[in-house]
Assembly symmetry: C2
């Protein structure tokens, strides 16, 4: 546990020395069920995750939790720390909770989440829950690391929430309407059903019908249904007749390789650029409108990339 905690800290700091250990651990990974919880701030994700942890523990499963926090772009540290609402699990050795906050300029958070999943998976956790905080592209990217994505919403939060839901719903394998005792819950479910109907053909897995589960997380209502839906989705993926798990694994790996490749390439490019004062000169030339960012970036790409077929 200590070694894992240390390694996750290295990953979160973007320390490249973690890579060798990760490469070894990777060979021992690939068993866990990875579940993502995503949705706008304030919808009650932590309370839901907490309740789901209890269910998995009752069934004798070990659980790893990654809480992906927003970071200050400048100070670079996690703000929330390990989620307060999950504190009651801290004494349970079967539950391992860590928060992640890395903000690399080039997809660092998605990469570090994938790395931390490898660590928890190799530790032998049966279930890994990834909880994100926001509703942007980061969350969509991070959701693509999961086998099962739970999209959490609440009734009536204004127009742009609706819009975000429409975008994220395509990645949600299970849709939760939390705080379902609030006014407007029935309307929210109806709207959601309508949106699902509209976007049905776009959900990647045509063999899975996305369930809508109503919950009141802090009153433990609907948790059994949500838990059942999560297990059912995992069974669905592993059902050999449509080989969904294999296809999900392929796209997860492909994404992880490309994220690592992007970070790797840009790290090396930045190392070389930071060593020279050329970029500063170019920036000043652009500022004086003697050249433009478009030509400069193409020239730089030519400089760094090996020519194809040479």
């Amino acid at each position: 546990m200590r070694a894992a905690a240390r390694l996750i800290r290295l990953i979160d700091d973007g320390d490249p020395s973690a890579r060798d250990e990760l490469a070894i651990l990777y060979r021992h990974s690939g068993r866990a069920h990875i579940i993502g919880f995503t949705g706008s701030p304030g919808v009650g994700k932590s309370t839901l995750v907490d309740a789901i942890i209890v269910r998995f523990r009752k069934d004798g499963k070990s659980v790893g939790v990654l809480a992906v926090d927003p970071t200050s772009p400048f100070s670079g540290g996690a703000i929330l720390g390990d989620r307060v609402r999950m504190q009651r699990h801290f004494l349970d050795e079967g539950v391992f909770i860590r928060s992640l906050a890395t903000r690399g300029q080039f997809g660092g958070l998605t990469r570090s989440t994938a790395d931390a999943i490898v660590v928890l998976d190799a530790m032998g956790k049966d279930v890994i829950i990834v909880e994100t905080v926001g509703v942007g592209q980061d969350e969509v990217d991070i959701a693509q690391n999961a086998h099962t994505t739970v999209l959490v919403t609440i009734p009536g939060m204004g127009d742009d929430i609706q819009a975000i839901k429409a975008g994220l719903m395509e990645i949600g394998d299970i849709i939760v309407v939390n705080k379902a005792d609030r006014e407007g819950a029935a309307k929210a479910v109806r709207e959601m059903r309508f949106m699902l109907h509209m976007s049905m053909e776009r959900h990647l897995d045509s063999n899975w019908e996305q369930p809508i589960v109503e919950t009141v997380a802090n009153a433990d209502r609907g948790i059994a249904e949500l838990y059942e839906a999560i297990l059912r989705h995992w069974d669905h993926l592993r059902d050999h007749s449509h080989q969904e798990l294999q296809s999900v694994e392929r796209s997860r790996i492909r994404k992880q390789v490309l994220d690592l490749l992007n970070e790797n390439i840009m790290q090396r490019v930045m190392d070389e650029i930071d060593g020279a004062s050329d970029l500063d000169d170019l920036v000043d030339q652009i500022r004086r409108r003697e050249t433009d960012p478009y030509h400069v970036s193409v020239d730089l790409a030519d400089h760094f990339l090996r020519r194809a077929k040479s």
Copy 2:
């Protein structure tokens, strides 16, 4: 106006043919005041932007608005379209409103926002307002395209909103507490002041003290103060005694070049990868745990990058 609209559509589609036109337009850009509005969904950003447009128009300034929308990761289209609340400006030729939604895998949204700013700037717009929807890293990135960033919050939206605020507050040049007639407004302002005090040393521009403005956007309360704060920040940047504008411009350009470079490099890498079946083979080897993503990504980076000093 038509040519600009067409070009912004090309930019949003990620069409590389826009680059040549952008390079020419770039030479005619660099005059506009770029203002970012960011904050969680539902805080009333569109209503505030609408009210601020009215003020600028009264002062005879032309305004361009970029509404950066969340996109479905699969369908790829904008969901909100041009913001409904701003419709009353559609007949005003001095206001040009467009929405952006590009979701490239590698920082496409930040890049396309920067490109669209170039178009509006070269069109001669005095003021360009960029409105984002979410609160993730995308918004932080996009905020870095602006001269003046307005961070919009509302009283009492739960713990994780607080955390997000703490992260985003460092990029907010002006903090707005909207819906200030709500219960808890005074408390929210106090908390905000406390957080600003705590993080003061981290704000990049030590000569600027971030004002906190209370507004009730749909009752036009506090709008005059917000407008004044925006103008005051622009004057502050252009005050030659501390050369802030030059430093902001340098970091904006640097970011734009690096985003373009990243996209350029990864586009070429992806073109080459997609042409070959090698990646699929590698993915399957990783899936069978015969190798791992860490070694594979380093090998691929070696393959694509020109060795330094050769």
